[in-house]
Symmetry: C3
């Protein structure tokens, strides 16, 4: 083993993180879940695990979903959390937490036991921050973070290593900016926003003059001139932005992501786009410039939305669909080009029956031949 030696720059004094003990009593877990408890309520739980991974008396076996039922019969855990629909045999566990709604319970339970990433107290001595920035109470700024002039970070927000914030950036309270995130100039972010590693918020829009429509000629001497992005990005509260996702700044106004909207990894959101509240945007989606997405819209993985498209409230875009025309409120579309789901499925069904169809037509043609021959013979 080599000795890592005396680090020249600052030690790593973490608080929180996975190392932190998050032990709770079974009765407190049940209370947090609004669940009923059978057996010992004073059992200490330090970890929640799949039933097959239980090793310690302080492990709580999570058997909420149906395919863990078998594992529950063989687990070494002494405490378990199960669905009311699939109770184990009586007295199998010293402590049993019984819930009604599996997935909602999983959200609460995993939040209780998530120590989050390790964070230092205050501003790490290696960070380079403009002298005029404002930091709320309990802000944690990690190693090698850079923050530009005029920026403000709300109370309790954590900015992990290597992130960079441009000028006049606002990040609300209770946020978590992961390592390597880039936040451009003039970006405003609400409260409790989570941005995952290497995401880029506030990059320049992809916009050039002249605008070349697909059927327009492109003269050889033509030079593409950049339309600069002088606008902003405005992100609401409780938004989540995935790893390596990119969101471009607007030309003059703002690219907007509404509160409660969750965006997965590797999503691309173009300049001037407006996205409503509580949307779910899955991995690898591309939303082209100036598209408008309503509230509570769900977009499946890998789907693409053309520029200037309007997607109505509560519409659903199926995975890998290519949306080239507006989608009305509440409509579920699918396919490439995307059409209403029932029509899309019908089309794929018919496409699968082409061979039969051709055979049928040839058969009819033969019969018509025969009828014509018969007519001639008369």
């Amino acid at each position: 083993m080599m000795n890592p030696g005396e680090p020249m720059l600052g030690s790593w004094d973490s608080e929180g993180g996975a190392g932190e003990s998050l032990a709770m009593l079974t009765k407190d877990i049940a209370a947090a879940l609004g669940a009923s408890l059978v057996g010992d309520g004073a059992k200490d739980i330090a970890r929640i695990v799949h039933p097959d991974d239980a090793e310690h008396p302080s492990d709580l076996a999570v058997a909420i979903i149906s395919d863990t039922a078998a594992a529950l019969t063989r687990t070494r855990a002494e405490a378990a959390i199960v669905s009311a629909k699939r109770l184990p045999e009586p007295n199998r566990f010293a402590s049993l937490i019984v819930i009604e709604q599996g997935r909602a319970a999983l959200a609460i339970l995993t939040a209780l036991f998530d120590g989050g990433p390790a964070r230092g107290a205050g501003v790490h001595q290696t960070a380079v921050v403009a002298p005029d920035i404002e930091l709320g109470e309990g802000v944690s700024i990690g190693p090698f973070v850079v923050i530009g002039p005029g920026s403000r970070i709300g109370a309790g927000t954590t900015i992990l290593s290597h992130a960079s914030l441009g000028e006049n950036v606002v990040v609300g309270a209770g946020g978590l900016i992961h390592s390597g995130v880039r936040i451009g100039d003039r970006v405003t972010i609400g409260e409790r926003v989570m941005i995952h590693s290497n995401a880029v918020v506030g990059s320049d829009g992809f916009s050039f003059a002249p605008e070349l429509g697909p059927r327009m000629p492109y003269s050889p001497g033509l030079e593409l001139k950049r339309v600069h992005s002088l606008g902003r990005v405005i992100i609401g509260d409780d938004v989540e932005i995935g790893a390596n996702t990119t969101i471009d700044r607007a030309t003059l106004r703002s690219t907007r992501i509404g509160s409660g909207t969750k965006i997965d990894n590797q999503v691309q959101i173009g300049h001037n786009v407006t996205i409503g509240t509580n949307c779910l945007i899955c991995g690898k989606v591309g939303i082209s410039g100036s598209a408008t997405i309503g509230d509570r819209v769900r977009i499946g993985g890998g789907a693409g939305i053309a520029d200037h498209i309007m997607i109505g409230t509560e519409a659903i875009i199926g995975a890998a669909s290519g949306v080239g025309s507006d989608v009305p409120e509440g409509q579920y579309v699918f396919g490439y080009p995307a059409v209403a789901i029932d029509r899309a499925l019908e089309q794929y069904r018919y496409l699968g029956r082409q061979k039969l169809l051709h055979r049928k037509i040839n058969e009819i043609a033969t019969r018509v031949d025969e009828l014509e021959r018969d007519k001639m013979a008369r």
Copy 2:
């Protein structure tokens, strides 16, 4: 408020950036645009805004595109720039700039008022640079930048925080390398090139031996052996590379991006690819290894190009298309698999008429049944 404290490592002495005053007189703006001016030519303009966002006497309302016409009637701006096709009522503005070509004007105008990101003077004291690198006049190297041996940076180029350049990298004059960009060994970049945050230029190609064609068997004992990328990436002048885009190095020779080509966010360009000049490559496009793309080719968002494909000059690839065969010069293709646009649209039209077609065939079959019955009866 916490005090960010005395930064251990270097202050943030920015020049330029959004904080810089970029005020201009209306007559100078008109001159830069080659536009006509009505009214006060000596009005100071500090900001260009959407008509609805005008707040100060120094705001210039930009109403070039048709959907800002209504906003122009209610704006608080005293100066405006409008299209000759949609003039406001006379004397509505103290100063009016009238242009012919909207989008070209927007490119010039946004360039005039873009202060660009904040940049320090010289090499930030936290940067780690090889002793033998060559820096042109006015180069700015940001915090935590790393530059490897043998590299050269041209005059006036800015490299923002956390970027890393490998060995023997050349970046031309007037460039802008955003934060977190990775430039691998032996990459050569022309003049005035802009590379957006977290892009990777010069990563290793994805190439293994043996090459397994899709129908070839894959024996269980087989071990995939890496073909290393000893080649380079060569990027021309005035190229733009989007955030989180990746460009792989060639095996022996060079992956090439021609001058004037603009590449959006999250584009993947494989090893040994050659792209011509003045191409437009939209977000999330994937170009597989050894493909060759001509000059002035336009590729819509999310499209994929298979390996070794040739795309001719001025061809157009529709959004989300999957190109599995060569595309001749000037051809516009669309779909998956991509075919000539007119054929693609025809196919989609026919696909939408399948239900009617099946009904029609059943109807004909019934009539033939009837004719045959009639014949039998005779």
Copy 3:
């Protein structure tokens, strides 16, 4: 030229890298390849090049693939490596290496001449590492690297600049972690693993409660609650992970990538996914949460796999396919939605014949009209 000045933070003392001389004798190259040698075995080779790029007597012209045959006739190289199938004229080269299997030879040959990226000795003085980390012999930690508490790095592994490793991360021996890579808490990586720039391994999964199936209503008051990722990512030996690729942590257990699997750039792998050994996953593929991929599976560029899908051993997924149902062992599927390749090709063929089909049906209808008229007339 500006003087980059005295760097405040540590010099760049590289070892290895492209600058390193990797000269070999022709006989030693032939031996490494198991190839036969004609002519001078004691010729010094410093570089392998395309025949057209040969400049020095120490350049070895690589003419393994057929399209370099012409270049071989005009090369200035004095030594060449060729396929036994395409021998040059006798005595054309002072030294000639003759191989049987081109691609396998290219893998060995490029490995011999790849000096790899420059690496410093030991821990760079700007790195911020937890005091309790364990480093194997010959580990190299680059500038501005951050490593969290409880992490272990195996012998000979290189971690390049700006990478960050969370808590309790394990990286095996002989690995190469490129610049800007983010490795989250509790990630375990095997031996000889290569992770390319700005990839993110161990980001949080995209998982919320309640789970909203595509046809399920989404009440306006509904708040999406995050299911936290308390699990891990476990990566086997000899795995390669491309630039800007993202791999999410599991909810309770582990996202797993089997040994020998190669993953290209910009691939997204969701939480709880299991991928077998020796798979080939091309650029821009998306694999949704809880999918299971067998051994030796090949997935073409841009393909998408829906959540919870099972892909059997040695299955092949064609480029840009959308896989929405399980794929049996050894099956080759293609299309959107993906079906068996022969059926997919048949469907596309029929789609191309729709115009003819419609014409044929109209023709039959006309003939039936005629027959009916004739019947009426009788």
